[in-house]
């Protein structure tokens, strides 16, 4: 079966990527050396992954991608990355009680461990931040494995394919095609004539922010304002803030750190939800491009409004005095901080927490859930529907209402003053509808599937599980809260959520386009 695509080309190019993924494992290897941990896990992983890479590459040593091959490649690349990412988890946890370590006791235990590892790895690369890692602590897991978990989010943030385009000339040839399919948001903004340079610029900005952020966090530690923010924690969180990831090697997430650290994290989470191309303009001295950008304004406005509302609710007593988060009723600083942090984290799909918001009252939780629907900006590392799509959907609906009364009026939809192409509007409508349908259907499936194995999900739990995975957000409500875990789900539900994270990161369309073209056989 040909599937209407030259799959060999896609797979061949995949090998190139896998090969280089082995190189990134040097980071946890160094961590293992520093902490005197078992280095064989990562040495073996590297050898294994490199071998797989070389083998896969030989399927087509000189790949030439057309549009459909590009879609297939991008879709496969994220599965492949997630699969490769499981190797260190499985090896390191072999023979221990780790939930993501390889178990060979029985067929059931074996499948469950592999699915768990895949869930954790997919959650990492797609920057979701949902976890099945049972107990998160350096006592149970090595520093190296936890750092690998953080690194997967950093690699996935700006996009593994954007990274490949930036550094691998053989991928750059088909770069525009690939980036179009992977970039978060409806369209690709080419910043420079050469696509590889655009990719490099984006990664450099991303890298720059990460370095500055780590320096600030570690600086606070050196200044004595953040006792437990040591270099390991600074780098670990540096890897998961800018990609709107949300993994933390601390069981208490950012609640484990002092208030000043929390205040530092907030702006960087918000930066991660901004279109990185806008920073490129700012660096070139064109700050007005950013300030006049309709999406940026809407994003800033949405964050400000939702935060203000939530802060008032917390101040008025929406949250009980809880261990993680502290008392907010009548406390201005803490109300503001908890509101800004939770919104900064959930609106753009990061998934950190400084308060156990599942204990807040229903009003506050519904507001958080609403924020989850918004999503970051196009071209940011955030997930969700994305601000720009909501803007265009809103404008298109308003036009629809107007033209119902005036059937002859011709009215283009505009964004930041420029006209949005009608094809793009159709695509955005389809995407948004598909997103909502998948979210709803998956929530129903998760609810039924858990009942099958005798677990009863609440309404908030089932809907938030679906939303948190397709939107690459991470934490949900109820047992899936920021300090909870997805571990109790049956294997089938976890596989569905792996699928949701995957298509959520690729924004649904590339994946479904590959399926549709395969089903047509053309």
């Amino acid at each position: 079966m040909s599937w209407g695509v030259n799959w060999k080309a896609s797979v061949g190019l995949l090998g190139v990527g896998i090969k280089y993924l082995a190189v990134t494992m040097l980071v946890p290897l160094v961590v293992a050396l520093v902490y005197g941990e078992d280095i064989w896990v990562f040495l073996v992983s590297m050898a294994l992954v490199a071998a797989i890479g070389f083998a896969v590459e030989r399927v087509d040593p000189d790949p030439d991608l057309g549009p459909r091959e590009a879609l297939l490649f991008v879709s496969l690349a994220w599965i492949a990355a997630a699969a490769i990412g499981t190797v260190p988890y499985l090896l390191a946890g072999y023979g221990t009680e780790s939930t993501i370590g390889l178990q060979v006791g029985s067929v059931g235990a074996f499948t469950e461990s592999v699915i768990n590892a895949l869930f954790e790895s997919m959650s990492g690369f797609t920057t979701t931040g949902a976890t099945v890692l049972g107990e998160i602590s350096t006592d149970r897991h090595s520093h190296a494995v936890l750092m690998w978990r953080q690194l997967t989010q950093w690699l996935g943030g700006m996009g593994i394919i954007v990274l490949m385009i930036a550094i691998l000339p053989e991928v750059a040839v088909n770069g525009a095609q690939l980036m179009e399919s992977e970039a978060p948001g409806p369209e690709l903004q080419k910043l420079t004539p050469k696509i590889a340079e655009t990719a490099r610029a984006l990664w450099l900005i991303y890298f720059g922010f990460t370095v500055v952020y780590i320096a600030i966090l570690y600086g606070l530690h050196l200044a004595g304002m953040a006792p437990n923010m040591n270099l390991f924690n600074a780098i670990a969180h540096g890897f998961t803030t800018l990609p709107t990831g949300g993994f933390s090697p601390q069981a208490d997430s950012i609640a484990a750190f002092s208030a000043i650290v929390q205040w530092v994290v907030i702006p960087f989470m918000l930066i991660a939800g901004v279109n990185f191309a806008l920073f490129w303009h700012v660096l070139r001295g064109e700050a007005e491009v950013m300030l006049e950008n309709a999406e940026f304004r809407a994003y800033a406005g949405a964050v400000a409004v939702v935060t203000a509302v939530l802060a008032v609710m917390l101040f008025r007593g929406a949250a009980p005095p809880i261990e993680l988060g502290g008392a907010t009723q009548g406390v201005t600083e803490n109300s503001l901080r908890q509101a800004a942090f939770q919104i900064g984290s959930l609106l753009n799909s990061t998934g950190y927490a400084t308060a156990d918001f599942v204990q807040w009252d229903t009003d506050a939780q519904i507001l958080l859930m609403f924020a989850m629907f918004i999503g970051g900006s196009a071209g940011s590392t955030g997930g969700g529907v994305k601000i720009v799509r909501w803007l265009i959907v809103g404008k298109a609906i308003r036009r629809e209402l107007f033209t119902t009364a005036h059937p002859d009026v011709v009215q283009p939809v505009r964004l930041s003053g420029s006209v949005v192409d009608e094809d793009a509007i159709r695509g955005i409508m389809a995407f948004t509808l598909l997103y909502l349908v998948l979210f709803g259907v998956s929530a129903v499936f998760l609810s039924l599937d858990t009942t099958r194995v005798g677990i009863q999900l609440t309404m908030l739990e089932s809907t938030s599980a679906s939303l948190a995975t397709i939107g690459n957000i991470g934490p949900g409500f109820g047992r899936l809260g920021p300090f909870g875990s997805y571990l109790f789900f049956p294997d089938t539900s976890k596989l569905l959520m792996v699928f949701l994270m995957w298509i959520g990161r690729l924004e649904i369309v590339p994946v479904l386009a590959v399926f549709i073209s395969a089903m047509d056989g053309r």
Binding site: H406, D408, V409, V410, Q411, P412, R414, G417, V419
Partner: protein, 445 residues
């Protein structure tokens, strides 16, 4: 003056006709029969041939021409003809174009295409329409500095809110200067505390937008504002430019265009205008969209027949003012006879503009006010002329000449004159001068 006119269409013939009495005119046309025929119509020398070639231009003695006017129906031909003329001599070149893109390029770079002055037919027509729509209260309106500056004269009516105000109160617009006040036929140079009475005639110079706003202050009743419904039928270049210029004056017209692609294009170019895609001769559609209740309808369709039909329809439906664009000069009177308020012919407008430009004077442009009591002049200042290098307040103090500087354009930007503004060579100055002082000003410039 030796003048060469290239293109003997309606515009060229009209220009040649009005110049032939005082000047030596050579007309070049590609059509032999047309050239032959023209010889008997007006007293000019005609040459048949391609006016863009240097052979034909040499035959027309372009080398010693004072002025070369390229006014064929084709933009590119006109530009090339001017370019060729510049290789042969140093005559002043005038090109007629339709495309506003060429005009923008030319405005952006002095002497582009070898053209010294460019007349954009469609834009000029649109400017005329907008003037007719926008300033019904004005007695006299004239454009200066290629449309960037307007001079307008208004009579202050009894019921005008401006009657009883001082000049300082009335002149509240940044880019507008109150230059003159005629009372009982006598010119007064206004000062801030000069009172305005009913029956006075006020002369202002400024950007078209500020003149429009001033008109609203003078006569809020007849001057259209954003509550007035203006409908443009036909999204031709003239229709588009009219809508654009009205938009700049805070008047948002509705546009009816039948072609879907053109309608979409218009809607993209004019964010605030409402564009409707429909056949404007469909009466059911016109009443559904309440076009019958419009205050002003402009018909700018591509054929005169359709314009006539729509104009008559609009008039019958009860539209107050109907303005029609008429392509053929012969039909202008026909339109006006059957009750269309104003018929505008783009060729006539173009020919008038070019002819106006050929008047010999120190000024590039002149408007005469109130039985020649005062003149509004546009002067291009040269290096070493008596007006440059000093603040305006000093200039006024040092001379007996009665004049007011209304506006300055510098590098195609409007500069509002103030007492401390220093004039520079290359500036275009639009000023009102008492007729008795014109000689003095001319000697300084």
């Amino acid at each position: 003056m030796h003048v060469v006119v290239i293109g003997a269409g309606e515009v060229g013939t009209s220009i040649a006709g009005s110049l032939s009495s005082d000047h030596e005119v050579v007309v070049v046309d590609v059509d032999e029969d047309r050239a032959e025929q023209l010889k008997y119509e007006i007293d000019v020398l005609t040459i048949a041939g391609d006016g863009t070639t240097s052979d034909i231009q040499t035959a027309a003695e372009v080398g010693r021409a004072d002025m070369v006017i390229a006014c064929t129906d084709n933009d590119q031909t006109n530009l090339v003809a001017c370019g060729t003329a510049k290789t042969l001599g140093d005559g002043f070149t005038i090109a007629r174009v339709k495309s506003t893109d060429f005009l923008r390029t030319w405005e952006g770079s002095e002497g582009a295409f070898g053209v010294d002055f460019m007349v954009c037919t469609d834009l000029l027509t649109a400017e005329n329409i907008v003037r007719v729509i926008g300033l019904p209260a004005a007695i006299d309106v004239d454009p200066f500095a290629s449309g960037m500056v307007q001079m307008a004269e208004f009579e202050i009516a009894e019921e005008s809110p401006m009657a009883g105000q001082t000049v300082a109160e009335a002149d509240r617009f940044e880019s507008l200067t109150f230059v003159g006040l005629f009372r009982n036929g006598e010119l007064t140079i206004p000062r801030g505390d000069t009172g305005i009475k009913a029956g006075d005639r006020a002369v202002v110079i400024g950007s078209p937008e500020s003149v429009q706003a001033f008109a609203t202050d003078v006569d809020p009743r007849t001057t259209p504002d954003d509550a007035d419904d203006i409908v443009i039928v036909g999204g031709s270049e003239i229709g588009y430019q009219t809508a654009r210029l009205l938009g700049e004056r805070e008047l948002q017209p509705r546009i009816i265009e039948q072609d879907p692609d053109r309608a979409r294009w218009l809607a993209e170019q004019l964010p605030k205008a409402v564009v409707m895609e429909h056949d404007a001769t469909d009466t059911e559609f016109l009443s559904r969209e309440h076009v019958d209740e419009a205050d002003i309808v402009v018909t700018a369709l591509r054929s005169d027949e359709k314009n006539l039909l729509v104009s008559v329809l609009a008039k019958r439906l009860g539209v107050d003012r109907v303005i029609a664009v008429v392509d053929s000069p012969d039909y202008v009177t026909v339109f006006e006879e059957i009750g269309i308020d104003i018929a505008i012919n783009p060729r006539t407008v173009t020919a008038e503009e070019i002819t106006r430009f050929t008047y010999e004077s120190v000024a590039e442009n002149i408007a005469v006010l109130e039985n020649d009591q005062a003149e509004v002049l546009e002067l291009e200042l040269t290096e070493g002329c008596g007006l440059v290098g000093r603040p305006i307040s000093e200039l006024v103090a040092d001379t007996d000449a009665r004049f007011v500087i209304g506006a300055i354009t510098r590098d195609h930007q409007l500069v509002t004159p103030r007492g401390d503004t220093v004039l520079r060579p290359g500036d275009h100055v639009i000023l009102l001068v008492d007729s008795d002082s014109v000689g003095e000003i001319a000697s300084m410039a």
